[in-house]
Amino acid sequence: MKFIEIRALHEWLDRLAQEMTLIAPTAVGPQEKAPGSRNPAAQGQQVFYRQVEGAAQIAWDFTRTALSAREHFMPKTETLFTIETGPDGKAVLHETKLEQPRVFFGIRPCDARGLRVLDAVMLGQEPADVYYAQRRENTTLVGLACPQMWEDCFCNSVGGAPDAADDVDILLIQVEGGFAVQVVTEKGERLATGMGLQEVEGLELPQPKLNEQFALPTQQQWLASFNDVYWQRVGDRCLSCRICSYVCPTCRCFDVRDETVVTPQGERIVRRVRAWDSCQGVNYRVQAGGANPRANLEQRLRNRFYCKYYYVPIDYAADGCVGCGRCVTACPVNIDIREVLQDLARREPA
């Protein structure tokens, strides 16, 4: 088993940060906020995956980041191209440039698994999304296994594991004095050459503590429940606030719009941007004539659950949910996807 000492790891990371873009979990925001707040986000600093300058900025002791790794592959906002006027007065389109190679360090296994879902949607079917593809290609994922499953996590119920190496290029597992290192892919291999790994015999890997596993509803149960009043009852509580889709590692809905910005220097920049969107928004599916097939809140809420567990598997042959539990923690009105799944799973197939 390969092993790296903490100091060596830090040195390697510091080097990496010099050479390329290093993204890693880091604490953001003011230290002192409302420590006792009922809103977990307001209690203190939150950890995000952000570009860091070196190992010192990396947060090592964190549960899961406030936002998933998705923001680095499908940014909250990205410019697809700018529109300029050429010398002949005709429009010229300039597509966004390629990003530099980067290392995504410290990605949790569930977030990495989320990328698998995004891959299926964005790349799995022709034509592929070139922007996503570039970022994906240029990034090497160094995963950091969870020592345990946290409150609200349920990756083990949806086929994942806190120390799964399936979707990363390299996986680090914390052990006494350093990290056990699993190099998973060729891409990982290339990166690992500079790491200075030691080979340690008989390294014992800790067994992460798991949360209780529960059974998921079957396809039949999903089908049979579509028109159930149950959704109305869950929807009663929903605020349509969209937090769930924004913190989700696999939600990929986007909006595209053109915008014209005049810089303070008087330069007029016209660009086409795309930005995150959420199926929970009231006007998400309004049609030109004003018709809205998902005008009701419970229809939109239902759409989200079905998208994860029914539509994505059918349309893209991937599991739509990785069980990271972010939506559970963040939902201000405690709509708990686990509760919904278990409620449905208990139903007799019609």
């Binding site: 006792g36 809103n39 307001a42 906002t77 937090i243 941007v273 201000p332 009105v333």
Partner: protein, 287 residues
Amino acid sequence: MIEDIRALARELLEKGAVECVIGYEVGPTGRVRPAFVYEPGEVERLIFDGRCDQNLVTYLTRRNKPRKKGEEVPTTAVVVKPCDARSLRVLLNEHQVQRDKVYIIGVACPGMQNADGTPELRCTRCDQRVPLLYDALCGEPPEVPTVRDAYEDVQQIEALPLEERLAYWLGELDRCIRCYACRQACPTCFCSVCEAERDDSLWVGIADRIPEKAFFHIIRAFHQAGRCTECNACEAVCPMGIPLSLINRKIAKDVAQMMGGYRAGESDEPTPLVTMLTGEEAIDEIH
């Protein structure tokens, strides 16, 4: 108090006086959340204590619309704390809720608590223990020595030099992901299409950049001027932990100062910010 609420809820549901009672319950993982009770047999789910800090009035706007065109609007009972009652008053003033379609179960408020059991900050500066309006009052008003809000938190920010204040806000707003949860949780944000989400918006794009984020929050704050009841719902739901209520409280403080102590939702008078449109004089004073 819990028993009073349950008994009242049961009576209302049994009589058919209301279709649904909105209150609080404890979810399966022990978190307190809004409860929608339709059957008299389910009233035992209802609870009330210092954890019930969500503003349930938010749900009324939605329930006040007929589900299908022409259908009658059902009557809903809702558990309302003193702060929530002010939001409700604003909604009533602005025709978003029909008074006869809502049964107000007022609760004498013990003050809300943080997760660690300490009193919520906003409750320490609130001097209302009994809602300003209700159809029935549950619980005995506790005598909690409280001070009327002096906006110390706002004053602290105001005291910062301009650059620091700007830096503070840009730092906070940088985390905003434009999820609009603040808006959705806000009882008095009820536009059918938000200014910040209009396809044809001339003023704010969809991008997740600081100018757009700041613009969204500023628009929201201005739209809340004279209407925000400082219920803190926006801040309580923010997944990024942005101190949103500070923005609104800053405006509320200014409104109170300029409009003779006006506090939103305390009377059925419309907000003076609409009715006092005498532009010229003010311009005169500036120059």
